[in-house]
């Protein structure tokens, strides 16, 4: 079996969540690689679109930002932010969108912090802030979240709630006035977590080959159910080949 990196497996775990016909809201970095990989592997009719207004771009090279001129080439249309977010906020197209997000912290309900650690007005560490993440998390029915599996990134309580997951549990999105939906999976360098359909709490669905469920628990502040966990299938030869030769040949991201 071919060697692979955990980053490659992470990317593929995300790609496998994308269904044919999905409209994929894409950020930068690994999320863009995952969306591009899905188009080549399992979801040829999925469509990648960017909050900047480009839809179904011809991605000959990996864009390094959602405003990279590479997203403007060969698109079905180039508009702006207002149109892009409307596509997610309206239910006609929005219900077909899957978002891919990253964050500095995630809690057990999939709420994300990408704003700061410490006090909001004078934080210990400041991050970029929401960008479109809060919007995507507010609007779309399915979301994938990329995380590095470290204790401080899976805290009991996040320092700032930038992007809504299930807020404080079942029914909370609806009570707040958000559209239903919410995060689908948290994909890390160790495994994949889903959310229980009843409790809306994160549980372990997959651990990667060579990783134990216990190791995953050791890298989180809160505990998750591991009773439903199974070992993830390693990357196939074909998946790796596509990833390495077609998606990111210059190793810009992976």
């Amino acid at each position: 079996m071919t060697e692979y990196t955990l980053k490659e497996l992470m990317t593929l775990m995300a790609a496998r969540e994308i269904r044919d016909g999905d409209i994929v809201f894409c950020g930068t970095g690994i999320s863009m690689v995952a969306a591009m990989a899905a188009k080549y592997i399992n979801a040829p009719n999925s469509i990648i679109f960017f909050e900047t207004g480009a839809i179904d771009s011809k991605l000959e090279e990996i864009p390094m930002a959602v405003a990279d001129p590479r997203v403007m080439f060969g698109a079905a249309s180039n508009s702006g932010l207002l149109d892009a977010f409307a596509t997610m906020q309206n239910r006609i197209t929005g219900d077909h969108v899957i978002g891919i997000l990253g964050a500095a912290q995630v809690d057990k309900y999939g709420n994300l912090n990408s704003t700061c650690i410490g006090d909001y007005s004078k934080p210990k560490t400041r991050f970029s802030g929401s960008g479109g993440a809060c919007d995507v998390a507010s609007f779309v029915p399915r979301c994938l979240i990329f995380m590095q599996h470290e204790k401080r990134k899976f805290p009991i309580k996040i320092d700032y709630l930038t992007s809504p997951g299930y807020l404080d549990g079942p029914g909370a999105r609806e009570r707040a006035g958000l559209m239903s939906g919410g995060p689908t999976a948290v994909i890390t360098n160790l495994g994949v977590m889903y959310f229980d359909s009843e409790t809306k709490e994160m549980y372990l669905a997959y651990y990667y080959p060579g990783v134990t469920p216990q190791k995953i628990l050791d890298n989180m502040e809160f505990s998750v159910d591991i009773s439903r966990a199974a070992e993830a299938a390693p990357p196939s030869e074909q998946e790796l080949q596509i990833l390495r030769e077609r998606v990111d040949p210059y190793k810009l991201i992976l």
């Binding site: 405003a67 001129p69 403007m72 180039n78 702006g80 932010l81 400041r126 960008g131 006035g177």
Partner: protein
């Protein structure tokens, strides 16, 4: 707006006239694309102070304005800049030190606020942000808002849907309009009256312009009015909104200008490296910003070879095969 006066002028004159200390400003572009960098550097050279800046994701430009000490207040959705700076570095340090009053929004909320400003209504509604700290945590207190007529009463308001059985929404978030004193954008083509044609993505540029009292356009080319008017449907900004037009080739450098040049990954990395240290950043400013008379001198300093590397390919609109590691 400005209908009648002569609009073509030099950059230093335009910035001197329309960007005044303490004014409220917004700039066009998004992260690594079409930031009006020549104008940003000129604002820094003219040592403008206490600006209040509105940004969605204007990475490159906003971070330099912060680094140059020009901003005292910032309303922003995203302070990141692609690979070179996942979090903008001067932004990060200014906030961590408490040097900047700031307030967070989402990209859509900021876009809607410009849209409301352009439309002349006090607010826009969205379902984004319900239940989050973006709604709950304010950067500008109610007291501060009460004292400053240029700040809206509230950061955000949540109301019950006045049409309870319509739109499948129980409540909505209202975000207040933005009407900057001045907006600066960089475009590919403009005529001498300020009608603009943007190529590639427009981001929120058109609404930012239409929401603004004064507007400075910097452009790669000043083209004939008749040429632009052969296809009026491709001109996103009619001249009535524009105060000044400035011809600045490579005016977005080191960010990208679609169909003209790519972003400069080397320069962006260089700036990021220097930005991480206060002394190094001062050295960077002395050399690349204060040390040059104008944008043309900066381009000379960068050198023809560097500019050739980022020159856009005709087919794709970017620098195909550019080394971006």
């Amino acid at each position: 707006m400005n209908l009648n006066q002569e609009k073509v002028m030099t950059l230093d004159k335009a910035i001197g006239m329309y960007v005044t200390d303490g004014c409220h400003i917004s700039i066009g572009g998004f992260t690594v694309s079409r930031n009006p960098m020549a104008a940003v550097f000129e604002i820094m050279r003219q040592k403008k102070k206490n600006l209040h800046c509105y940004a969605h994701s204007n990475g490159t430009g906003v971070d330099e304005l912060i680094g140059g000490g020009c901003l005292s207040k910032l309303e922003i959705a995203y302070g990141g800049n692609g690979k070179a700076a996942p979090t903008c570095i001067r932004f990060k340090s200014a906030i961590q030190r408490g040097d900047l009053l700031f307030e967070d929004y989402s990209n859509y909320q900021m876009s809607l606020r410009f849209h409301a400003g352009a439309m002349g209504i006090p607010f826009m509604a969205t379902r984004s942000g319900l239940g989050t700290d973006i709604v709950n945590k304010w950067g500008f207190s109610k007291e501060m808002r009460g004292k400053d007529p240029k700040l809206p009463d509230k950061k955000i308001e949540i109301i019950d849907n006045p049409f309870p059985n319509w739109g499948n929404a129980s409540r909505v978030v209202l975000v207040p309009a933005i009407n900057p004193d001045v907006t600066i954008i960089h475009v590919q083509k403009a005529d001498k009256y300020g009608t603009c044609r943007i190529e590639g993505l427009t981001f929120a540029d058109a609404d930012q312009v239409k929401a603004s009292k004064h507007v400075i356009i910097t452009c790669e080319e000043i083209v004939e009015t008749d040429t632009l008017r052969e296809k009026p449907e491709y001109n996103q900004i009619p001249f009535i909104h524009v105060s000044a037009v400035v011809h600045v080739p490579y005016g977005a450098y080191p960010s990208a200008c679609y169909n003209y040049y790519d972003y400069d990954p080397q320069m962006l990395s260089h700036v990021s490296k220097f930005a991480k240290d206060d002394d190094l950043y001062q050295k960077y400013l002395e050399k690349f910003v204060y040390g040059v008379k104008d944008h043309q001198e900066l381009l000379k300093l960068m050198g023809k070879d560097q500019l050739a590397k980022i020159s856009a390919d005709r087919r794709t609109g970017y620098a195909t095969g550019l080394d971006r590691r």
